[in-house]
């Protein structure tokens, strides 16, 4: 079985376990208008369609085979191709013979989850672009090797050793194989140079395109007429090698970008797809969410997301609105209360009347706010680009001047010198300096489970001086914990905890889960547990060893007759037949890595702040425990945005760490943004970095790596500048033939890439220090 080969990654994607089971809504997909959303007719065929499915739970290449086999055997399915890097499957099938819901069931049996991937149809141009670049790179690479073979005799032969006809033959062979490079591989350089020139700009590709064209033109003239005015010098080998090196850099950059984008797209598809709607006769049918209309009545099961804004008609449950309002504690919802699209129903089934759908929901409004904020984002000027424009102009001017100065000694010689100047100063080292370093850094981060959305963000990260945390889920775990137990005289805290845990195991309320987790499996067994709506639990607890059974109540203070003490924290109380028995102080538990991460940031001279939509007092308490001096509670998304803007107005560079949907606008307007793994897909899609495992030490690590990256970029730029300062004069005075210029360019590029590759090695821990002591030092160097 191929699945046994599968290795789990060290940082698994956090999959929310609360999306409805696929099999429940799969039949909806059998309606033609539903499956046509993620399908299209196979071109040139009447009854065959191709459909795209996003697959959850793929970890490695072996999974692709398991999935291909699972779906490939089904009736109507003609072929299946699974793409491991984007985690999508393409199914070619015939609607008359089979149904899409079969695929979903087969996937589920194989241990995966499928989601319709309508966006994959839009992604087709990007796939084509990827193939095109690969094709260009392969053409350049293959032709480069072959042209080198034809060029070698000319380099090793002594004057007079090669007959002119053999020389001409080799030249023509080189020419034949350079033409495909020019036709297929160089097209992006020509297109980009032409675009720049048409807009009266100068870009990296202008001297590149010019160098290629002049070198090829002069070489072609020399090939046609070796005795002509342009001499007998040919540079086909230099041209092809040059193009190959340039394309290699672009290919690497595109590969990394695609890998990052693919994982994020898979996350973005996790939105509710279908819902149970009440028919006129009172029964329920599953329909796609987009077919809902205001006035419809839907049943939302525990664990499902609300598909639209609405009003509860029947039922009594709790909802999790943390993603939309920032309120981290589950809120009670019963008949008459409003619920919002995108929030989750936690406890019991609710009957909801739909009030607003689609664009009118609060969810859609927040998404719109987010998109506007991301348009406002100030463009970061890139260090290399700032230097590049004047440099490129100087190169063009120098090449022209050299050609003019050497013209009297022969046009061929003069053009050779111009080409040498264009190529030796080739912005290769310069243009590779930044991307090579940022790519190596991004690769190193990806291996730690940190995805980089925008490569430019690494530059911004090096200058950050303020880190702003959002409380919900970033500093805390999404669980509460028991911090203190107070009991009636004569009752042991241990006993009280065990009694409470016995009852609490019968409930899913967050406080109950905290109580159940706080105590080991005691000998007490609860029976006849009833939920008292909105107040707590009641039940009988017995030990089974002859002790009398006790009737206990667990819940709010008035339910248990607890003595009033105005503790700041949330509390749960326990009472028996004699009245109040114990009180449990509950608090959101701080993540274990929150304190070290905050300390590490502060040690590096960064200002750490906390913003939250929660009430002010718990926020301040939490900030105190995490060691954060500056905190603000009760912040709406607009407040947070205003705060970040005011910090930026003071000249600070702000990094925002969030995970909620309401963070979206703030994430987008900060100079730098992190989304922690359990965050909503949409917020992640707008952030610069996505920390898949949600580990907080990723933040100091990213900032440290960003500073190392900036240093490497500067070294690379300094090298490129020094190299050019030495080689350009040599080329200008004619001591640098084009082949040597090409070689110098290649060696220089290689050096830059090798220097950048140092970033993909992990931080060195200095010897002689324990790991705890060494770590901040290692981060700081």
């Amino acid at each position: 079985m191929a699945g046994t080969l599968c290795r789990m990654p060290s940082v698994p994607l956090a999959l929310p376990a609360r999306a409805p089971a696929p099999a429940a809504w799969a039949p909806v997909l059998d309606e033609p208008e539903a499956w046509q959303e993620f399908s299209r007719r196979v071109p040139g065929s009447e009854d065959r369609w191709e459909s795209y499915i996003a697959i959850d739970g793929m970890y490695c290449a072996a999974c692709t085979l398991t999935i291909e086999q699972a779906i490939g055997r089904l009736p109507g399915v003609e072929s299946v191709q699974v793409n491991g890097s984007t985690a999508t499957a393409r199914v070619v099938w015939t609607p008359q013979l089979g149904q899409p819901s079969d695929w979903w069931r087969a996937l589920e049996r194989a241990g995966y989850r499928g989601l319709p991937a309508g966006d994959e149809l839009q992604a087709q141009p990007r796939h084509r672009e990827r193939r095109r670049l690969l094709w260009r790179w392969l053409v350049a690479g293959f032709c480069m090797m072959q042209v080198m073979m034809y060029a070698v005799p000319a380099y090793v032969a002594q004057p007079g050793e090669m007959t002119p006809d053999i020389e001409a033959l080799l030249r023509w062979a080189s020419w034949m194989l350079t033409v495909p490079v020019l036709l297929f591989s160089c097209q992006p350089f020509f297109a980009s140079a032409w675009r720049d020139l048409r807009h009266r700009r100068i870009g990296m590709d202008v001297p590149v395109a010019l160098g290629i064209l002049i070198a090829f033109g002069a070489s072609s003239a020399a090939t046609v007429d070796p005795g002509g005015p342009l001499g007998s010098e040919v540079w086909f080998d230099s041209v092809t090698m040059f193009v190959f090196f340039l394309l290699s850099g672009r290919l690497l950059e595109q590969r990394l970008r695609d890998r990052t984008a693919g994982s994020l797209e898979a996350l973005m598809r996790r939105l509710p797809a279908s819902v149970e709607r009440r028919r006129a006769d009172g029964s329920f049918e599953r329909v796609a969410v987009r077919r809902l209309q205001p006035g419809d009545v839907v049943r939302v099961l525990p664990g499902e997301a609300f598909p639209a804004d609405g009003t509860v008609l029947e039922g009594d449950s709790r909802v999790d609105e943390a993603l939309l309002t920032g309120e981290s504690e589950p809120l009670p919802r019963r008949a008459g209360d409003a619920v919002i699209a995108g929030s989750h129903n936690l406890a019991a089934a609710l009957l909801v009347r739909v009030d607003r759908v689609g664009e009118d929901t609060r969810y859609a409004a927040i998404v719109a706010l987010m998109e506007r904020a991301s348009v406002d984002k100030p463009r970061l000027a890139r260090l290399a680009d700032r230097i590049a424009a004047p440099f490129l102009l100087a190169v063009l001017a120098a090449a022209a001047a050299a050609a003019a100065a050497w013209w009297p000694s022969g046009p061929g010689h003069a053009l050779g010198i111009a080409v040498a100047v264009l190529i030796v100063t080739c912005p290769c080292a310069l243009s590779l300096a930044t991307p090579a370093a940022t790519l190596a850094a991004a690769g190193a981060l990806a291996r730690r489970g940190i995805l980089v959305r925008r490569l430019e963000a690494l530059e911004a990260a090096a200058g950050v001086d303020t880190v702003v945390f959002d409380k919900t889920g970033t500093l805390t775990r999404d669980r509460m914990s028991v911090t203190q137990v107070r009991t009636r005289p004569g009752v042991q805290p241990q006993e009280a905890s065990e009694l409470a845990a016995a009852l609490a195991r019968r409930s899913l309320h967050p406080a109950s889960r905290a109580l159940a987790a706080a105590s080991g499996p005691g000998s007490w067994q609860a029976s006849g547990v009833q939920e008292i709506a909105g107040r707590g639990l009641q039940g009988t607890v017995s030990a089974g060893d002859g002790q009398p059974a006790r009737t206990l109540r667990l819940g709010s203070a008035d339910l248990c007759g607890a003595p009033d003490n105005a503790g700041a924290t949330a509390q749960a109380h326990l009472a028996d037949g004699h009245g109040w028995l114990a009180s449990f102080d509950l608090d959101e538990s701080l993540r274990e890595d929150a304190l070290p991460a905050v300390a590490s940031l502060q040690q590096r001279g960064l200002d750490v702040q906390l913003l939250s939509g929660d009430r002010t007092r718990p926020v301040q308490r939490l900030a105190g425990r995490a060691g954060i001096a500056s905190s603000r509670g009760g912040q709406s998304p607009e407040d947070k945005l205003a705060h970040v803007r005011s910090l930026q107005a003071e000249g600070r560079r702000v990094a925002m760490v969030g995970d909620g949907l309401n963070d979206g606008p703030v994430l987008a307007s900060a100079d730098l943004s992190f989304a922690m793994g359990q965050g909503t897909p949409l917020a992640q899609s707008r952030s610069d970095f996505v920390v898949l495992g949600g580990q907080l030490d990723a933040i100091p690590a990213v900032l440290a790596l960003a500073r190392r990256t900036r240093r490497i970029v500067r070294q690379n730029l300094a090298w490129a500048a020094g190299y050019n300062a030495v080689c350009v004069p040599l080329a200008l005075v004619g001591w640098m033939p084009p082949w040597l210029a090409g070689l110098g360019m290649a060696a220089s590029s290689l050096l830059v890439v090798a220097n950048a590759a140092r970033l993909s090695r992990p931080d060195r821990v200095r010897p002689g220090l324990p790991p705890e002591a060494a770590r901040p030092l290692a981060l700081g160097h």
Partner: protein, 45 residues
């Protein structure tokens, strides 16, 4: 040496044929999911 006048054009033609094969492989999606092919040999099903 005269044989070179046959062999070198032949090598050029061969190169163009190889380019054609590369084009076929790239555009038919042979390089889309290269990791999976390494696993296929270990698969019994």
């Amino acid at each position: 040496m005269d044989i070179l006048f046959l062999l070198i054009p032949l090598s050029v033609v061969l190169g163009l044929v190889i380019l054609g094969a590369l084009a076929w492989a790239v555009w038919r999606g042979q390089f889309e999911s290269v990791d999976a092919e390494a696993q296929r040999i270990l698969d019994e099903g």
